[in-house]
Subunit: 283 residues, 2 copies
């Protein structure tokens, strides 16, 4: 599987399978046709037509929207429609930093196909024989992508927390990186993707950080989410990504961006332009 093919899998979804989810007339998400039909059963919360699902106009505040959607999500969970439940709220907005329209249970986010935000951190070690990347194997008990290869630190962005604050928290929980070291992580960009995954439609913005770690640093997982850590030379990372499915889909994207930013790919590669463009969807 080429690097370009890995990027293209992060843009794969079928518009015909979804109905736009609107708030105040603006597109916020995409809902599977059968779930859209089910939402006709909640006329106080959703205005469902054959073309769209709109949040009821009567719900005109963050609190009212959040409470009404939470009640529906609880019913959908009972019915087995929402299969993964996180007990964690995500802010629902198209743009990070804008006031969210509502907060939504994280497990419902891919069902509504609304945008989510996350942090991904490349844990790097510059050794005498070249650049190395810390790779984590996700715990076999994770609800999504169990056993897949992951970044040293990555996590979804909960409601009410800043990006850097979340990164520092995740650095501690996932890899035992102390706050003073985590704070040295350098923000290096944002990637976007929109694709079908086992948990639903993922419309995410990934804020990416690089952190150069001392050679003697040994990551230590504290939240049970990581099975194992490996420190791989970049050539091994490239071979593994290109070979296929070992890395979680969005980690592959973040690592391909690392290849781009650090000159492991060059513009004279005929896929270069498409790979770079494919890391960023139009806003």
């Amino acid at each position: 599987m080429s690097l370009l093919a890995r990027v293209q899998t992060c843009r794969r979804w079928d518009p015909a399978a979804y109905r736009p989810f609107l708030i105040d007339g603006r597109l916020y998400g995409r809902i599977r046709q059968n779930l859209a039909e089910r939402l006709r059963g909640f006329p106080a919360v959703f205005e469902v037509t054959d073309d769209a699902v709109a949040l009821a106009a009567s719900l005109d505040s963050f609190e009212a929207r959040s409470a009404a959607v939470a009640e529906v999500a609880a019913v959908l969970r009972e019915e087995g429609e929402i299969r993964i439940w996180r007990d964690e709220f995500y802010p629902i907005t198209r743009r990070w930093g804008a006031a969210p329209e509502l907060k939504m249970e994280r497990g419902a986010v891919p069902d509504f196909g609304v945008r989510a935000f996350g942090v991904h951190m490349n844990g790097l070690v510059q050794k005498a024989d070249g650049l190395h990347l810390w790779v984590a194997r996700r715990s076999l008990t994770k609800p999504t992508a169990p056993g897949k290869l992951d970044h040293l630190v990555a996590g979804g962005q909960p409601h009410g927390m800043g990006i850097l604050q979340n990164l520092i928290k995740e650095c501690g929980e996932e890899a035992g990186i102390p706050p003073d070291l985590a704070r040295q992580a350098c923000p290096v960009g944002a990637l976007s993707y929109l694709c079908v995954q086992p948990d639903g439609l993922r419309d995410d913005i990934c804020f990416v950080y690089d952190l150069f770690l001392p050679e003697e640093f040994e990551p230590r997982n504290t939240d049970g989410e990581v099975e194992d850590f490996f420190l791989w030379p970049m050539a091994q990372v490239m071979e593994t990504i290109a070979a296929g499915e070992d890395f979680k889909f969005n980690c592959a994207l973040v690592i391909i961006d690392l290849f781009v930013r650090r000159g492991y790919l060059t513009p004279d590669d005929p896929d270069y332009q498409e790979i770079v463009a494919g890391l960023h969807l139009p806003d």
Copy 2:
């Protein structure tokens, strides 16, 4: 002027003012309405309708297309329609690395609104007191953006030359950087923009390189295209970009990408997501 506003100026154009320029039924450029009407005068080369300008289907080879368009361009130059003439050919393709459909006089490219490619290199110096960027002032005799601030090295991509090969050539001509040093430049990505400029509609892909230069390096212009060079600390570069119009529009974009990649901007800035997305147009 905010950094976001600088990015947004690189996406400003009015679709109603242009007619799509098609080759084999696919969009390759955009032609001003009055020029589209003028092209009705060349029925062997262009099939002009009220909705589009298509390259004549009878022109079915690179050579035939290039020769036919060159004849038209020469007439348009005589008529003053094409005001800047470069005597240099650009390859016409939507994707770098694909075989071009034709080659076109560089001066005609913004009139046809076809995609062009270029290289931009950040010349960086890591000093004890922080990162510095080499800035060039363009010669007052340059046909585009005379006297504006520029990168140490930047240039359009001519037909028949590789990107790295062009970068090495421009490094020598514009800044006296020897080939062995130029070869150490690291490719760090590609940016895209589509906007109206004084010379026409610019639909460009910029391949971006960073080169770390020794402190003692002094650039030396050899082709008369540069008035002067300055080595500025990053804070001065940021202030100048944010203050307004001193930098050439596409240099500002490349430098804002540098800010993003090197952590001078952070995701908790409410403009961050839009700035990053604005550096990349959909392919």
